[in-house]
Symmetry: D2
Subunit: 350 residues, 4 copies
C-alpha cells in the first residue's frame, strides 16, 4: 500500500536522527537552557534576518497556536481567522478552551483578505456596542494555508500594513512553512515573513523533525512572560535540547529548505499526472498538498493501492480528495501511484 | 563538572534509541493509531494486570497532569493534593488555567494522609455552605513523591478505600514511577498501583525515554471523550508512534524496571557516602532523589566539581540540597563525587 | 424626546415594585432559600405544566446563558447556534471565556433550521477526524429571536425531535419570552416550550422585572451540581428573595403575559403606521422589536424627536432601524411617534 | 425567631427604596450610561478624594472579585491572599474558573502580613524556577476581614508600600466596608483606602442596598478595556441605573456611614452582653460580625429563640458561633436576644 495520507507518517530526516544519536548521552540542563537550543535560535534568527528577535520551541502545532494566541491576546480579545483555518476547525476547541473566540472571515482559496480584515476592524469600532462584543485582537493566517495555497508577497504586505495600522498583531502558522518557501515561483521568503508578521512559527514536525515547532518573533515585547505561559500550557519540553538539536540541524546548510524541495517535486509529479490523465483540480495548490476531484469508481479503485484523504463527504458521483507528499516521499512510490491512475476521457458526462 | 541536577539530562536509553532508528523511515498513520502504540498499550496493560483498561500517551508531565485532572473533574470540583505537590507548586498554574482549584492538605514526608482526606471530605459536606465551596472531586498523589519518598502498600490501600468510599477518583503521578518500583524494600508493585488507583501515569521522560508519559486507567468510564480533550490540551502528538515505540521498548523484558534499578543503586551509593562521612539527611528518601543538609562552606566547595540543586533558600550556616541520579548515571561520576565529599567530624557546633 | 431604544429603559412593573416595598424589611435567609423563591418556582412550574422540573433564578441574560451552557456542556463540546445569535455576537465572548466554542449555522429569519442541525451532527461523526473537532453538545435558540421572529410549533417540534434523537439538549433563550407568548397568532405556548426544550429561561429584565431570569428545566439531571456552578459564575444573588418576589408576582394571575400583550399592541401600532405611510419592513417581526428601512433624510428627521437604534452601518441612501416597545411603553408616546413619521409616496426612486 | 445569620436578610434602606420608587418609570439608557450612575460615580470619587479615578458598578461580591482579579492579572499570575479569604474559601472556585491561582499566606486575625507578602515576592524571584511557578501578580485583602477584624492605618500603609515597591497592585474587598469605616476607634478612612489601595470595592449589598458593589480605582490604567470584561463575566446589569440610584443615595449626606454606625452599635451591644455574662470571645471583632464560644447546651437553648451561624463543626463541649448585625437590625431584637442569654458562672470546668 502506498501512503499519501499526511506529511507526518515517517520519523525524522536521517541527518536529524544522526545528531540525536550523537548527542544522546550528553548531559545538558533542561527546558531549553542548553547550548544546542541556543545555537538553533541563533541559526534561525540569522535565517530570518532578525536582530533583537526571540525564538521559542514547542512540540506540536495545536500547542503552539494555543500558547502563542493566548500570549498575544488580552482576555476580551479574539483572533480573526478564516472559516477553514486550522484553529477554527481542527484543534478541538483549544483556542476557546483558553477563553478566546475565533472570529471568522470568509476564505478565498484558503486565504484571508486584507480588505475584509480592515473592514471588520473599522466596523467593529463604529459605535459603542463594541463593548458587548469580542474585540479583534490579532490576525491568524497559515502559509501554506490548510488548502495548500500561498500568499503572494503583495498580499502579505497589504495584510501587514492593515494589521500594523490597526495595532493588531499578525501571526502566521507555518506548520508547513518549508513547503511554502520551497515552491519555485513563490515571491515570499522567510525574511519577508519575519519582517511582515509579528509572530510566526516554523513547522518542524512536517518538515524533517520528529516533532517540534519554532516560534519566531521580531517583537518579543508582544509576548511578555512567555516562559511561564509555555509551562502553563504544558508546552515546555523537559529535555528541551531535543528541539534545539533538531532545529540546529535543520537550519544548518539550508537543510530545511532543501528537503522541502523534494516534497514539492513529488507533489508536482502527482499533480501533473492527474492533470495529464484528464482529472480536475479541486484546489490549485503549488505545495505538498494536492487536491483533485475523483469520480467515485476511480476513487474506489485507487484506494486499493494507495491511502489518501477524502476531502469532505463522499459525493453522489465524484468526491474531492487530498494527496500529501513530504521530504520523505519516495520516488518509487510516486511512480507506482502514477501508474495506478487510469486515464479518463472526459468528466463532462458526470 | 559532574551533574546531579535532575533525571532528565540525557536523551533516551540506547535500546530505545535503537528502536527509534530502526523504525525511523517506516510509514504509520498519526495520532497513536499505529501498531507500535497498540503493542505498547498491550504490554503496559499486561504489566499492570488490567483487563478492560485503557492507556493514553502524552509527551510531558505537566501536560499529562493537566489533561487527566481536567478530564476527571466536573467544573465545580477541585483536586485534593499536598502543599508540596508538583501540581500545586511547579506547573505554573496549569491546573487553575483549566479552571480547577488545587485544594491543599498538609504533607507528611511528602505524602497525603488518608485520614485527613477522609476528614476533609466529611467536613466539606457537613452543612449547606458546601455549595459555595470547591468540591473535592479527586485526590492527587505522586509516587515517588516530590520529596523522594514512597507510600507503603498499607497507606495506598487505606487511601484507595477512603477515595472509593467517597466516590472520589484517586490519581497517581508516576513521573518517577520506575524509581519507586525499583526500590528493594518497597512492598508496592505496579499491579498494586493499577488496582488501587483509578488513574495513574507511568513516567517515561525520567526513566529511559526521550519524552513520554503513559496514562493508565482501569476505569476508562472516568475519562469519557478523552481523545478530543487530549487534542484540546495540545497533548496529542502527531507522530504518536514515537511514544508507542519508546514504551513498547521500555515494557519489553522488564527494561523499565531494570534501568531504574541502576538509578536507585547510584542514589544509594551517594546516600551511604554522605552518611558515612558525617552529614545528615534533610529527607530520608529511598529513591533517586537524595536530600542532605550541607554546611555552606562544603556546599560551595562541592559546587565547584558538581552541579546539584539547593532545596530552598541558602541558610545562614547550612543549606538543604538535592542530588538526583537516573538510569544514565555513570558509576565513574558517582565515584568522583564521593571522592570530592570531605569527611566532617561533627555538625554539633554549627 | 421619545425613546424606543430598548425594552429595558424603565424599572419594574408597578405591581412588582409594590411587592418589593411591602416585603422590604422582612427577614429571609439568603441565596434563594426563602419562601418567596419557593412560591415563585412553584408558580412557574405550574404555568409550564412540568412535574419534577426545577427552576433556578439568575440576574441577567448573559450570565444565565453562560452558566446554563457551561452546565450543559462537557469540556470537549460546543454549542450550535445561528451566526446572529446573542451568544455569538453580543456577549463579549462570555461563552468562550468558559472554554466552549459557539458552532455557527446560518440564520433563516433569525432562526436555526432543524434539518441543518441534523446534517451538522450527522456529518460531524462521519469519520474519525471528529476527535480533532469540537463536538456539538447542545443547540441554542432564542424565542423571540434577536430579529424579533418566532418559531412555529411545527419548527420547534422538529428541532426537538432532531435534538432528542441525537441526544443533544435543546436550550431556549427567552430573554423576551413574554413578548413571544403574547403574540396573537403564535401557536407556541409556554407549555410547548417546557415540553420541547430541555432547558429554557423566562426573561424578567425585559418583561416587568427590575432584573432577573428564570431558568426552567424538565430534566434537572442535565444540570447536576448546578448551585455551585451558579456561584462560581458570580450569578448567585445574596438577597435571592428579590428574584423570588418579582417572579412570584409576574406569575400570579398571568401578569407576565398580560403586560407583554401591551408591549405587542404598541409594537403593532408602530408597524401599521410605518407600513401605511409607505415604508418597507427590514424584517417582518410579530413581536416588540420592529425593523424598518428608512431613507436617510427621514431617519435624521425622526432622530430629532425619538431615539431608536440603527441596525447596521448607515447606508448610502437608506438605513435599517429598530424600534422597541415594552410593557411600559406609553400610548401617548406611540401617538407622538406616529405623528412624527412623514408619509412617503414611494421609495422606488432610491 | 430572632435572626442574626447574616447582614443580607432584609431588602434596602428605606431611603434607597424611596428613590427606586420615585424613578421607577423614568426612561434611561442601559448599562450604566444614565445620569444617576454618573452622579453616583461623582459622589463616590468625591468621598474618596480621588481625582482622575474611575468607578464601576457590579451586582454582587463574588462577581466583583472575579472580574476585578481577572482584569488585574495576566495569564501567568495569581493573587496573594490569606487562607481564610473569601476568594479562597467561599466563592466556589470562581477565581480559578477564570484561570488564576489563589496563592495563600497565613492569616493573622484574618489579616495578611506585609512582611510575609514581601518575603513571598522576594523568595519567588530568588532563582530561575520561578518560571515554573505562578507569579504573585496582586494582593487581595478584605476590610473588615472575613473574621470581622480591621487593618490599622499603619498596617495598610506598610502593605501598600510593599506592594508598590514590588509593582503588585493591592486590591481591597470591601463587602462590609461601611461597617469597617463606622467603627469608632478605627484610624482608617475611605480616603486612606483610596490612597493606599490600587483598586477596592465599596459593598452595597450588606450596607443599605438591595444589591450592588462599587469598584473604585485611582489607577484606571490597571484595568484597561474593563467594560467588555465586565460584560464577559456576566456582570453588566442591563438596567444599570438601579446601581446608580442606590449608590447615589448611599453617598448623599453620608448615608452609607450613618446606617453602618447603627449596625456597629447593635453589634457592640451583643458583644458587651456576652462578655458581661461570662462568655469568651472566639475572635475579638470591632465590627458587625461577633464571634463567641458557646457551651453546647447554651448553644442549643439559644438556637430555639435566635438563628445564628456555627463557626466550624460542633465541638465536644463548646462551639464557636457568629452573630451578625446590620443597618437593619432592630433594637428590640437585640434586647430580646440579650435577655435570652443566660449568665454563666465560669467556663473553667469545661
Amino acid at each position: 500500500m502506498l501512503h499519501f495520507d499526511s506529511d507526518y507518517m515517517e520519523g525524522a530526516h536521517p541527518e536529524v536522527m544522526k545528531r540525536l544519536i550523537e548527542t544522546n548521552l550528553e548531559q545538558t540542563p533542561g527546558y531549553g537552557t542548553d547550548i544546542y537550543t541556543a545555537k538553533a535560535k541563533d541559526n534561525i534568527l540569522k535565517a530570518c534576518g532578525i536582530d533583537g528577535g526571540k525564538v521559542y520551541f514547542m512540540v506540536g502545532g495545536t500547542q503552539t497556536n494555543t500558547t502563542v494566541i493566548d500570549g498575544l491576546l488580552r482576555r476580551h480579545e479574539g483572533v480573526l481567522a478564516t472559516t477553514t483555518s486550522h484553529i477554527n476547525v481542527h484543534e478541538a476547541g483549544a483556542i476557546e478552551a483558553t477563553g478566546h473566540k475565533v472570529l471568522t472571515l470568509p476564505q478565498h482559496d484558503g486565504k484571508i483578505c486584507a480588505e475584509e480584515v480592515e473592514k471588520y476592524i473599522t466596523d467593529f469600532y463604529r459605535d459603542d456596542t463594541f463593548e458587548h462584543m469580542v474585540a479583534p485582537g490579532m490576525v491568524y493566517i497559515s502559509h501554506p494555508t490548510e488548502l495548500g495555497t500561498l500568499y503572494t508577497l503583495e498580499e502579505l504586505e497589504e495584510l501587514s500594513r492593515v494589521c500594523r495600522k490597526a495595532k493588531v498583531p499578525l501571526y502566521l502558522d507555518g506548520a508547513r512553512l518549508g513547503y511554502g518557501l520551497a515552491v519555485e515561483n513563490t515571491d515570499v521568503t522567510i525574511k519577508d515573513i519575519a519582517r511582515l508578521c509579528d509572530v510566526f512559527y516554523i513547522g518542524g514536525t512536517k518538515v524533517g523533525a520528529l516533532f517540534g515547532e519554532a516560534v519566531v518573533t521580531s517583537r518579543p515585547e508582544l509576548l511578555p512572560h512567555f516562559m511561564p505561559l509555555i509551562k502553563q500550557h504544558g508546552a515546555l519540553l523537559a529535555k528541551g535540547r531535543l528541539l534545539g538539536i533538531q532545529f540546529e540541524t535543520l537550519f544548518t546548510d539550508n537543510l530545511y529548505i532543501k528537503i522541502a524541495h523534494h516534497g514539492i517535486q513529488m507533489a508536482m509529479n502527482i499533480k501533473e499526472a492527474f492533470l495529464s490523465k484528464g482529472y480536475s483540480l479541486y484546489i490549485d495548490s503549488p505545495t505538498n498538498q494536492q487536491f483533485f476531484v475523483l469520480p467515485n469508481d476511480i476513487l474506489d479503485r485507487l484506494a486499493e493501492v494507495a491511502s489518501f484523504e477524502m476531502w469532505g463527504p463522499k459525493g453522489e458521483y465524484e468526491t474531492p480528495v487530498r494527496f500529501v507528499t513530504s521530504w520523505a516521499t519516495k520516488e518509487n512510490d510516486i511512480e507506482a501511484l502514477i501508474n495506478a491512475i487510469p486515464t479518463i476521457e472526459s468528466t463532462l458526462d458526470l
